[in-house]
Symmetry: C2
Subunit: 213 residues, 2 copies
DNA sequence: GAAGACCCCTACCCGCCGTCCGGGCCGGAC
DNA sequence: GTCCGGCCCGGACGGCGGGTAGGGGTCTTC
C-alpha cells in the first residue's frame, strides 16, 4: 500500500485528490496539509512514501519546502495549474521526481504516484516535450564530439590539460602534480599540437565541452 | 481517429501491438513494417499520425530511419527492450518524441500514442528519471550564476571577453574589433579584476558556463 | 558650467606561456 | 641482446599575456 500526503491550500483540491487516489486499491491518503509548514510536519510524523505538493501556497510554498520534504525520506510530486519553465526548473533542481498539471486525468495521477513510489519519475507531457527539445539541442552531441577529439592525448597529457581547463597556471599545475614547470609546458605544448589548438584557452574549452572536471 | 503504423521485425510483436492499440476506440493501426525501409515506405504512402518504431531491426534500424520518418510528417515513438542511454540519446536527438520499453502496460501505450499525437512527449519512467538527474545537476543553475557574475562588465568588456572565450589571442581580437592590442589587454585586465579571475582561461570558463558565444 | 563618474582608448614593463631541443625509461619486434 | 617507438621529464630562448599609469570623450548632478 502506497502512503500519500496531499498538500494544497484549497481544501476543495485536497478533497478531489483524496477522492481520486483513494479510488485506487493500492494507494491510501494518510494526511493532508494546507501549506509548506504543515507539509513538513506531516511528512515527519506520518512518513509517507509520496507527497503531492502544490507549487503556490500562502506562507511557505511548495518549491521551498520540497528539499526538506525529500530529505525527510519522501518522494515529491509537484502539482501546479500553470507549467511555467521556472517552476519546473526549480522543482527538479530541488529534487522532485514528478511534475504534473492539475488537469491531469485521474488515471494518470494514480499511475504517477505508483511510478514515483517505484523509484522512477513522471512529468506532464508538455514538460517532457520541452525537456526533450532542450536536451536534443544542448545534448551530448557536442560532448561526444569533444571527447572524440581528446582521445589522441596520453593519460598524463589529459590529466594536465584538465588542470589547464580549471584555469590553473603552469606553476600551480607543476606543484600539484609534483613535477617541473618545464615539464608541464612540454605536455601542454604536445596537447596543443595534437589537438591543433593555438591557445590553452582552446584546450580549456574542449575539456569543458567534453564535460570533464 | 489517430492513425498509427507499427514497425518491428518480429511479427508476433507487431500483432501484439496491433491488438493493444486497436482495443482503443480512437486509435487505428493502418500499416505494419518489418524494417526501416518498410517503415519509410509505409509512412510516405499512408501518412500516419504516429509511427511506433523498434530500435533494433535487421537492415536499416529504427534509429537510422527515424529522422526521415519524422521529416515525412509523422511523430515517432521509439520502442525497445533495453533502455540503454545511448539509444535514448540518439533517439531524442533524431527527433523522436516518445521512448518506451516493450514492457509498457497496454493502457499506457495507448496513452502515449494519444499524448504524442497531441503534440506532446512521453518517455518511459526510468528514462525520465535519468533525464531529470542529468538536468538537475547540469541545469540552468550554473548558467544563471555565471550570467550573474558577468553583470559588472561593461558592454565593451563583455564583447572582448567573449572573444577571449573563443580562444582568440589579444592581437587577433584587436584586429577583429579594430583597436590597439594594448586596448584589448586593458579591457581584459579590467575584466579579470572585476570578476576576480587570475587567468583569461577562467574568463573563458565563465563565459562558457553562461552559454554565451 | 564645473565637477565627477563612467567608459573607451593608448603606451611601456615584467612575468608567464609556448616552442625547440634533448635525455631517461619502458614496452614490443626481430 | 639490440633496435625502435611512445611516453614522461627537463632547460633555455622569444613572444604573448597581464599590470600600471595616464589622456580624451560623454552623460549625469549640483
Amino acid at each position: 500500500m502506497i502512503r500519500v500526503v496531499v498538500v494544497d491550500d484549497e481544501h476543495l483540491v485536497r478533497a478531489g485528490l483524496r477522492l481520486i487516489l483513494e479510488a485506487a486499491e493500492d494507494i491510501t491518503v494518510v494526511g493532508e496539509a494546507a501549506d509548506g509548514a504543515g507539509a513538513l510536519e506531516q511528512t515527519h510524523r506520518l512518513r509517507p512514501d509520496v507527497v503531492l505538493l502544490d507549487v503556490r501556497m500562502p506562507g511557505v510554498d511548495g518549491l521551498t519546502v520540497a528539499p526538506e520534504v525529500i530529505a525527510a525520506g519522501a518522494k515529491v510530486i509537484m502539482l501546479t495549474t500553470f507549467d511555467l519553465d521556472e517552476y519546473v526548473h526549480r522543482a527538479l533542481r530541488a529534487g522532485a521526481v514528478g511534475f504534473l498539471l492539475k488537469d491531469t486525468p485521474p488515471r494518470e495521477l494514480a499511475a504517477a504516484v505508483r511510478t514515483v513510489a517505484a523509484g522512477n519519475a513522471m512529468l506532464a507531457p508538455t514538460v517532457t516535450r520541452r525537456m526533450i527539445s532542450s536536451f536534443a539541442e544542448r545534448g551530448p552531441a557536442r560532448r561526444d564530439a569533444a571527447r572524440q577529439r581528446l582521445t589522441p592525448l596520453t593519460p598524463r597529457e589529459l590529466e594536465i590539460v584538465r588542470e589547464v581547463a580549471r584555469g590553473l597556471g603552469n606553476a600551480e599545475i607543476a606543484r600539484r602534480l609534483t613535477m617541473s614547470e618545464a615539464t608541464v609546458k612540454a605536455h601542454v605544448s604536445r596537447a596543443l599540437a595534437k589537438l591543433q589548438a593555438g591557445n590553452r584557452v582552446q584546450l580549456a574549452i574542449l575539456v569543458h565541452d567534453a564535460d570533464l572536471l
